[in-house]
Amino acid sequence: MNAAPLSSRRPLACWLAFAWLALLAGAGLLAPWLPLPYAAATPDLLHVAAPPSWAGTGHYLGTDPLGRDVLAGLLAGARRLLLLSLPATALATTVGALAGAAAGFWGNRHLRLPLAAVAAALAVAWWGLALPGPVVLYIILALAGLLSLLQWRGPRAAAPWLMITLPLDSLVLGLTTLLGSVPRLILLVAVLAGPPLTQPQLLGVFTVVAWPETARLVRAQMLRVRAQPFIEAARASGLPTGRIWWHHALPHACRPLLAYAPLSLAGLISLESALAFLGIGQGPDVVSWGGLLASVRQDPTVWWVAAGPGIALLVTLLALQKIANSARYSGSS
């Protein structure tokens, strides 16, 4: 039974979810300009770990064990969510989906690349690692150029020995295994042991840590979709492989992501809180929801510090799940 996708029949909960996400986005974008009694990163030394009080000190949601105001921290955390965690989740999901779908579709035997590409890659690696022997470098580059010239006479008529098969499945699986076998925290400690990272670098690190899970999920789903009759029919009708993959197989393989993506956002935030807990990545002057939750460890009785970001995270997650559900039921059949 498929309900007609009329916007007037969307339930109230869906509108509430939209409203919350809009409020979050607004608060995050306007956070630096909102008139708050306390700044997010300034500690109030006289009221450390103070409970919420509506009169007097002006800490409406209390302070955390470092003295930071929780309300200001919530708004600053919303901004960080908008600018870092959401893009990281989106990027990780995209990268994971593409890698997993490609690995599942082409497997180990069906992706063939021209030899010149490998030669060029080898030359770049040689130069990058500064291996001895510049003469060899130029010989390889020349060889790569010659091969690509030979290729150009006719892509379809290229001889089989000029193409190599890229074992894409093993590569992607190997990468995901590597990233999944090393305990996440050891990996992050190693990466973040150096100088502190800028926003784009942090985004990159989070993406690298979070993409394997979505990749494996999408790959497993693609293995099932690949065997479906409609893919066979598309091949039989003469569509190019790339078009089949992009237009027909990929949307079906990404279906489990709708349920999984909000959870991976929550996972990324708890990773952030583990990092804040270890003190790696960025200092305490960069306030985030994960960092506020991590500060509860210093004084376990500060329930208000856990309640504020916790409830905000919970409502955000529920809102995202609601929207994902309604997108599924109104968009697909």
């Binding site: 039974m1 498929n2 497997g107 035997r109 500064a130 291996l131 001895p132 093993s170 699986l173 190997g174 295994t177 590597l178 999944g180 076998s181 090393v182 305990p183 996440r184 925290l185 050891i186 400690v189 190693a190 042991a193 899970e213 494996r216 999920l217 497993a220 789903q221 293995l223 099932r224 065997a227 279906r255 489990p256 709708l258 349920a259 999984y260 959870l263 929550a266 996972g267 935030i269 708890s270 809180s273 583990a274 807990f277 994960g290 939750l293 991590a294 509860v296 460890r297 376990p300 009785t301 856990a306 916790g310 995270l313 919970l314 997650l317 529920l318 799940q321 559900n325 599924r328 059949s333």
Partner: protein, 353 residues
């Protein structure tokens, strides 16, 4: 089929060795080393000193320590000189990597830097604590996830279903240490409820049943924390997949033929929705490994999570590399198992080409 399996296992072992080698080299290339923890802290006034500790004498002590631990050898067969365009140098067999591989092939997993004990002797009792905990948590969570997902997939929802859904989302959102801390403060607190039994050991003359009882009592709260932390990740995607399956054509046909909604869910929708669950289940290992560290620190359990975390902090490389080798090996075996199960569950996935 068996040929494919043997090839898969061989690849898995090779991958594990590669991962361990990578961690071997990266850990030794990081700044800082075991000498920071073993030698007295610089700039400390608590021990009155008679002679000046100059940079030269400190460097001499560090050098002596590195020589005793074998860290003064070059790292690999070839190393690059310092600087942006350093020269590559060949070292032959006198390097740390070669020594490690040779001792590994002889069955010697190395000795811990902090106390000189063989690494396996340190890891074995810790595994005896962690493995039962982690596997019990995984099995319990999987079973509960199946039951809860079947409950959540029933289409006429109701308030209870929404509440359970919101509760699971709340659990997903909460970091594990907050959850464990909350449980500790609720259930092991003399002010609220005092259910956690004493720290300490069972008397040495206990029977197997009594030992199991002590273990269960001590492991109850950690187990509960781990299960609650892992449950949402398993349940929510499975519930969504089940809901999707109940919309398919074959489900309608089955209902038309007279099966109840629950029967349709259990017999027809569940096998089709199990595949993503299998993926998430094999991905459970890293999540559990990370969660076990937090739980062991909070509840003071002497397990592998705590052992490896402390070894990583103290730069005790042999222990870290052995731990990563074990974790990587376990993960890869789980992947092979998952692949075998995929093939058993869905005949369309059998390798044909």
């Amino acid at each position: 089929m068996t040929g494919w399996l043997v090839a898969r296992l061989g690849r898995a072992l090779g991958a594990a060795w590669l991962i361990a080698s990578l961690v071997f080299m990266v850990s030794r290339a990081l700044p800082g080393g075991p000498e920071q923890q073993a030698l007295p802290e610089a700039g400390d006034l608590s021990r009155p000193t008679a002679s000046m500790v100059s940079a030269a004498s400190q460097a001499a002590s560090q050098q002596a320590l590195r020589q005793r631990l074998g860290l003064n050898l070059p790292l690999f067969y070839v190393t690059r000189g310092p600087g942006p365009r350093g020269q590559w140098q060949w070292h032959g067999a006198a390097n740390q990597y070669h020594a490690w591989v040779r001792s590994l092939l002889h069955g010697n997993w190395g000795y811990s830097y902090r106390n000189g004990q063989p690494v396996l002797a340190l890891v074995r009792p810790a595994l005896a604590t962690t493995l039962p905990l982690a596997s019990a948590a995984a099995l319990l969570a999987a079973g509960l996830a199946l039951l809860l997902a079947l409950y959540l997939a029933r289409t006429p929802g109701g308030w209870w279903q929404q509440l359970v859904w919101a509760g699971l989302s709340g659990l997903q959102v909460m970091p594990l240490f907050l959850l464990a801390l909350g449980l500790l403060l609720l259930l092991a607190n003399p002010d609220v409820l005092n259910l956690l039994p004493a720290a300490g050991q069972a008397p040495p003359d206990s029977t197997a049943g009594q030992l199991a009882g002590y273990w269960l009592a001590r492991a109850a709260l950690p187990l509960l924390s781990l299960v609650l932390a892992v449950l949402p990740e398993l349940t929510l995607p499975l519930a969504a997949a089940l809901r999707h399956e109940t919309q398919a054509g074959y489900a309608t046909t089955a209902r038309a033929k007279g099966l109840t909604a629950a029967q349709v869910l259990r017999r027809h929708a569940l096998p089709n929705a199990l595949l993503p669950l299998l993926t998430t289940f094999t991905d459970l290992l890293p999540t559990l490994a990370a969660g076990v560290v937090v739980v062991e620190v909070l509840f003071a359990l002497p397990g592998t999570g705590r052992l490896l975390a402390e070894a990583a902090a103290a730069h005790d490389y042999p222990l870290v590399v052995a731990g990563v080798l074990l974790t990587a090996g376990a993960r890869l075996l789980a992947l092979v198992l998952a692949d075998v199960l995929y093939l058993l569950l869905d005949p369309r996935l059998r390798p044909t080409a």
